[in-house]
Symmetry: C2
Subunit: 348 residues, 2 copies
């Protein structure tokens, strides 16, 4: 019998089609089937030596003092084909019965490594921490722009997940409004808070640790688990165990710890599902709620193993063919067996 599960935050129902239950080997989407990438690609605009082909950098972690040269290990640049334009005012206006405004915002690329063939499943823990630190730096810089209300940090991995360039990179888009999905999460969390006077994500952390059937991995301060009403097979959430509304409130020490958990999880996902295409997004509090008792930041990893089709697009109800409990078990088993020595030293 399939099961209908309700997302306790957004109240969205999800169909868990247990009888169609799919194991990792049943999924055929894999970015491993794409040609193997070299460490350096002469035609790649993000590889070292091509600094002149991107818009001038807005941040880089490098050894020397000169901008736009090749001694960097993480580099952030404006997107050459931005979805939103950095210049201009909103100019909100009506157009007949409709509402419109200028597409003002920021759209940046975080180039995660000089090496063309690295990604969060294979890079060093140090490199991962540097990437997350760059997210934070760019967030804090763009946050000063009073035209913006929200910043989404996200990653598209593999062609099926919408990545148009191979070189490892994440993206960030600052928007002049709070995105509807964030609004819906806040409304849901507010309803819960009014009833229980507790943060729903804090309750979820306690509940998942107690139940211990959907937990994948944890560190002292961070938890990775499969949410009860997962929309996608192997959907995974990473978040702080103690309440924190804004991603950018992490200290350097915590960034290093969180990046270690990311490295662990992306390694598991890659081993378990044969390097699947995926997206991730960091849901953080809007600027005006960075100290909120209600919102709790979380990273959502969405492997692209199945295709959302007419039913999902017409109803908002997702059909998930792997139970979160099964997915958690597979990911727990996919632990790295020959642990490479993890370098935790940080030099910025």
């Amino acid at each position: 019998m399939p099961e209908l599960r309700k997302d306790p935050i957004t109240q969205e129902w999800v169909i868990i089609a247990t009888e169609r239950g799919r194991r990792p080997s049943d999924f055929t989407q894999s970015s491993a089937s794409e040609p193997e990438r070299p460490e350096f690609s002469p035609t790649c605009p993000f590889c070292p030596g091509k600094e002149g082909t991107t818009p001038p950098e807005v941040l880089a972690f490098r050894n020397g003092a000169n901008s736009n040269v090749s001694d960097w290990w993480v580099r952030c640049v404006p997107n050459k084909f931005p979805a939103l334009a950095i210049e201009g005012e909103l100019n909100k206006r009506g157009l007949g019965m409709y509402d419109v405004m200028h597409g003002v915002g920021a759209h940046e690329v975080i180039i995660e490594s000089p090496r063309h063939n690295e990604d969060p499943a294979t890079m060093s823990a140090f490199q991962m921490a540097e990437v997350v630190w760059a997210y934070r730096e760019r967030y804090l810089d763009l946050r000063k722009d009073s035209r913006f209300k929200y910043i989404l940090i996200f990653r598209n991995h593999g062609k099926v997940a919408g990545a148009s360039l191979e070189h490892p990179h994440s993206q960030l888009i600052a928007t002049p409004m709070i995105p509807i999905d964030v609004v819906n999460e806040i409304h849901g969390a507010e309803r819960y808070y009014q009833f229980h006077e507790r943060c729903i994500w804090c309750d979820m952390v306690r509940h998942e640790l107690e139940q211990a059937v959907r937990v994948v991995s944890e560190t002292e301060h961070y938890l990775a688990f499969e949410p009860f009403a997962s929309k996608y097979p192997f959907e995974t959430w990473l978040m702080p165990k103690s309440h924190q509304a804004s991603f950018a409130a992490m200290t350097r020490e915590r960034v290093v710890e969180f990046a270690g958990l990311m490295r662990d999880i992306f390694g598991r996902v890659s081993r378990c599902l044969n390097a699947p295409p995926y997206n991730f997004a960091i849901h953080t509090a809007p600027f005006d709620r960075e100290d909120s008792d209600i919102f709790h930041w979380h990273m959502v990893i969405m492997p692209r193993l199945t295709i959302a089709a007419g039913f999902e697009m017409g109803t908002g109800i997702y059909i998930n063919v792997t139970t979160p409990e099964d997915a958690a078990r597979y990911l727990v088993e996919a632990k790295e067996t020959t642990e490479a020595p993890i370098t935790l030293e940080v030099s910025v």
Copy 2:
């Protein structure tokens, strides 16, 4: 400058990235690149002669009197791998902090033609009308089941759009709750009604006919246009010009007229975009609002030309790279030039 446009119903913002503006030939997704289909496929479970390989039919339009034989032209069967199970009660219950119920519902397949290689872009107007009539019949039958609150009729065309079988078919899923996207549309339409005391879709029909920049085609009682805040390039809506809440309220005469407009539009979409993969869904009123002054049924066609990725999945904000006004112009130009004689006679 990109433009932010607000969906007047759901209040969702969409980014219309005018400067990335893509023409039909810029999109490479095409189901025409899949191998050409024969009129009959010996391995296809939906081709005539294979009636025994599907679950027993629940409806068929055929010449003879015997069920499950090969003289049909439209045939409806339960889905062999249903997302929701037809037997059982809901058994709503709590599970720790979460809510769950049995996945009870109906999941049926409408086999649109005995010919393996037909589809709404190529079938006769008569055949299209018979398909839509079958939608209505199945809707009215399942509507009697008191466990259900909503029925979605939808279609997945091409592998990229989630179709697992080539043979032309649509699907229908009856759900025991009103889907969240429908709830959101109703809430939006209610807000508008409270303010204006008019149906927002009726206003949209008038506005679009007046503006005449997003209209693609029309018949006496039905309109096809590109919505102002289209989420997808070439997103197209078909709906009655006069108020009607439920799709199932159409008379036979109107079904024939509406099917003619569908045939016209799917032909245009196919010619314009080289047989693209697409989904469509019919948004109709929930059972308890079939006489609503607020809800107005509409069919939404969503070509799958771009990939929704981390940004869309993390915010709910879609990036559309073709303006609806451009899309409308291309679809207006894609009119069928050598009109095949349209048979309007109907024999059921």
